[in-house]
């Protein structure tokens, strides 16, 4: 008899079992905690708005991120950035007398993006979708585009390119061999490096990145790619042969299209074989990682896509970010700061739309900006063009050098960490980069 009940409950539990990859995240309702009494405008000060997710007192949003992932990425911290920004806005009385509320923190676990987005649309009753921080595939994009919902997120997937209601933090994204960029050649030139080694995994995204690098150096031949491979396996890989060959080829600067595991393994191998040259690290702006492993990356350059915390002095937007993140006790990761900028995009659109706002007006509001930069936190984006223009003639980047485990901004100006070029320069040497915040 006991066995039967055990079996029955196992069945019940087992019917509950789904494989790790399939489950989706909980929906948590988080309300703002701006402390003290919220200033609510008396009804009637602002006109009623008949849009989904908007009440007399609230504007609701929800987001999705790859919170659960096998490579230890902190994508879920994007929600914190949004929440901190909302805290700031709500402490000032909100927008049009309404509080901004992040009602859902969906976890797409890398492969359930479409499902989570559908859940947001069907069940969360929101006006806009932010943040979106998913790494492999933003398969819910088509749903958001179809429903014309204002969407703001970490724009590293191709799906952000195209629809006018999807706002990624980089604008239209160019990948692969058609996309020469001046950033890496500039770094090589600044550091007087001439022989480049490039390493990547045989995974599609990683490999395409190599093509992009080669094209960049073809266009800006300040240095030559003397070694490149796309044959490393994601997860665990022996790079000793590659490092040996790079030594023999007198490589003086290494760039990779790999995650933190990969670059660390490479750095250790390089140290072991005596190839003590800097790396170019496009994904390594992680304070915890660098604090623990900085010894291997002394002198390496880390590219950052938004204003780093090390910017001195801090311009107002950055200062707000730091203040409000600290108030809530959130960790200030890269994803969190991008989440903050997503919230800023949303609010910019809201403000531009006026008190009779609709989704379309909010979208149009942001789309009028020709040089939107979230108060200086992001590289400027021309939203009139950069939903679709893959080769917009403006590039920006923040270059930090690792020194004693810390990131030190390079080649820019105090308070203005971005190095930018307008137009498409013909050469690196003749180009005129300028600093901006």
């Amino acid at each position: 008899m006991r066995a039967r009940w055990l079996a029955a409950s196992t069945v019940l539990l087992l019917l509950a079992a789904a494989c790790a990859n399939s489950s989706s995240g909980k929906t948590k309702t988080t309300t703002t905690s701006s402390g003290g009494t919220a200033t609510t405008a008396a009804a009637g000060t602002f006109p009623p708005v008949n849009e989904p997710g908007v009440t007399a007192t609230e504007i609701r949003v929800s987001g999705v991120a790859s919170t659960t992932n096998p490579i230890g990425g902190q994508y879920g911290t994007a929600f914190d950035g949004v929440q901190a920004y909302f805290n700031m806005i709500n402490s000032q009385g909100g927008i049009y007398g309404r509080k901004l509320v992040l009602v859902g923190r969906h976890d797409d676990q890398l492969s359930n993006n479409k499902r989570e987005v559908q859940a947001i649309i069907d069940q969360d009753n929101v006006f806009a979708v932010l943040p979106v921080a998913t790494i492999f595939s933003f398969s819910g994009a088509s749903l958001l585009a179809q429903n014309n919902i204002p969407t703001y997120g970490w724009g590293i997937n191709d799906e952000w390119t195209g629809p006018p209601n999807l706002f990624g933090h980089l604008g239209a994204l160019c990948n692969g061999a058609n996309c020469p960029s001046i950033l890496l050649p500039y770094v090589a030139w600044k550091l007087h490096k001439q022989r480049i080694g490039v390493l990547a995994y045989n995974v599609a995204n990683s490999a395409a990145c190599v093509d992009g690098i080669k094209t960049s150096f073809d266009k800006y031949p300040v240095a030559k790619v003397v070694y490149s491979t796309k044959a490393l396996s994601f997860g665990v890989t022996d790079m000793s042969a590659d490092v040996k060959k790079m030594s023999e080829a007198n490589v003086d600067f290494v760039t990779t299209c790999m995650d933190n595991n990969g670059v660390l393994t490479l750095a250790r191998e390089m140290r072991q074989q005596g190839l003590n040259v800097p790396q170019y690290l496009p994904n390594a702006y992680d304070h915890d990682f660098m604090a623990k492993n900085g010894g291997f990356f002394e002198g390496s350059i880390v590219l950052v896509q938004e204003s780093p915390l090390e910017t001195t002095p801090k311009f107002p937007a950055l200062q707000n970010y730091v203040t409000w993140m600290d108030k809530a006790g959130y960790t200030k990761t890269e994803n969190a700061s991008i989440g903050w900028t997503n919230a800023d995009m949303f609010v910019t659109g809201l403000r531009a739309a006026g008190p009779n706002f609709t989704r379309q007006k909010v979208i149009d509001g942001l789309n009028r900006e020709t040089s939107y930069d979230a108060g200086g936190m992001l590289a400027p984006i021309d939203w009139t063009k950069q939903h679709t223009d893959l080769h917009y003639p403006r590039s920006c980047g923040v270059f930090t050098m690792v020194k004693a485990g810390k990131f030190v901004v390079q080649w820019a100006a105090p308070g203005k960490p971005f190095v930018c070029w307008d137009g498409t320069p013909a050469t690196v040497e003749g180009s005129k980069p300028y600093a901006r915040q």
Binding site: T10, L15, A20, N21, S23, S139, A204, A241, G405
Partner: protein
Amino acid sequence: MTDLITYVLRGIPFGCVFALVAIGLVLTYKTSGVFNLAFGAQAYVSAAVYYDTHVRHKWPIIPAFVLAVLVFGPLVGLVLDRLIFRFMRTAPHVARLVAALGLLVAIPQLVNLWFGQSPSFGVEGIWPSSQGSNFAVYHFGDYALNGDQVATLIATAVVVIGLTALFRFSDIGLRMRAVVESARMTELSGINAGRVGTIAWMLSSLVAGLAGVLLAPLFAQVSATNFTVLIVAAIAAAAFGGLTSIPLTLLGGILLGVAQGLLGGYLPPASVLAQGLRPSLPFVALFLLLIFWPSLRNRREVTDPLAGVDPPPPGLAALERSRGLTWATRIFALIVLAIAIPFVLSSNYWLLLGTEAVILSTIFLSIVVITGMAGQISLCQATFAAIGAFTTAQLVSNYHVSVMITILAGAAMAAVVGALLAIPVLRLGGIYLALATFAFALMFESVLVPLDWVGGGANPIKVPRPKFAGIDFANNKSFFFLCIAILAVVSVLVIFVRGGTIGRYLDALRGSETAAQAIGVNPTRARIIAFSLSAGIAGLGGGLLATQTGIAQPADYNSFLGLFWVVLVVTLGSRTVEGAVQAGVAFYVVDEILKRIGINQSWQPILFGLGAMTYAKHPEGILEFQKRQSLAFVQRHLDRMKRRGAPAEPAGADEAGAVAPTPAQPSSERVGAD
């Protein structure tokens, strides 16, 4: 020449990494009969404990090591044996593989619940060298080793020598092997099989813990995934040792490391060959070893001479149902459908889930064919689904063929690949077959998927919805019904095949391969047909999934997902169409229920893992078992009612939880099981 030597030498430390892990695998298999893919998860436990004590709480190396490896290692083994594997000593090897897969998923979550999920950078090993500037490197001329590599080399040597001595010269080694071969016989000889089994688990877990702590510094963070990837690559070394010989496994690991080094050294780095072969070498090696290595090729799994003591597995419950009861069940199922379908149609979200559940059920039918009917465990069903999906995507985007036709073409392509794969692989049987299919899945993933003409490269290919017979299936509701129709057709097909000649042959082969051959059944042909059919069905499902999501994204078909599909289906019930459908629905629906109840994320994999444990006791599946129980229950009550109604006629023996129906039942006519 010096280059050659350098590459060889440099490959050795990495080879030792493979070897250490592979030795752990072989040790576990040899002493407990479990092919423990969860070895990585066990290693992770010790690595996590070491990280927590040494890195976070700054304990000195030795106490941290003692706690993490010498205490926690065997402790984990003890727990696993006492709670789980003790009950599986007479279960078939494949059932134990399934249990290990469950653990693979559950253990990391349990550890995360304990230690939390904050990032764990700055991993340190046991060699007294810290990160960064004090990173200890030892130079031997041109050749350098870092401290962790030295530790690994020394540990590997100690482990190999120790274990070889144990098995060759000690009593306990012999006993452990005897218990694996036949626990019952060992007990008949007066040996406490239980105690021996526990010692075996503690020993292999100790090695797991050691591997975990030694190898953790290879990665930037402590995470179970990293170890699992390592395990998978090390299987080739284990196969080289024939899954039994420790010294040969060491050699296999070293050869693997050296081969990788040589490939890295001699293949042109940017070449397509390098790109394909270097990351996939362990899987290619494993695949080729399984197919061509004589000692593996001719190896039949050691079967327990006393296995016949176990009663034969019961037949399908559905076949023993009375006609009336069968109709009642069918009507009930229709009622459930009548309620469920409008509910699914009521919101876009449920429509999405419902459609994916139906498609997944279709894919799961492929597992019913290969595992339920042919009795083989195939771990590459996700690969066949991928082949279907990518064929569909490529044909649609390159040749603009009508989508429905491409989906069918994808199924055909998968069937062809399945048949080709079956030819060398089916001869293996049991766990070797499972490993060979897994190796194939990994090869496909690492070599073919990244190619533009397969997986679409950096930009996954978009797949529109079909449009035919005047209906545009971009409408989600129409597409849902299309998927249901396809599921119905495939289900009927599977039922027909099961009742047809091939199905009968497969039944016979499952009952007794020897006797089946003795009446003239060609086992290979029957199984190849089953394999190919199964691959085709999976391919069909894959194509449908691609058009459902709108893109053919490789993450939807990754090989680990394929593992979990198999575990889910065999746990719930792989013998019936019903089992497949219920598994497909459970995959999504119950997830939702948990979300709404608000249970912590981590419990889902844990439950899944627990479920997998039941497979050994109920190889016919939990649902089948429940069905049988409830059938017996209902039958008993019907009999009781009949008896009250007609006191003159004894209705035959009532057996609580009867395995076979009573002879007096006039109705065990063959009614189709659905």
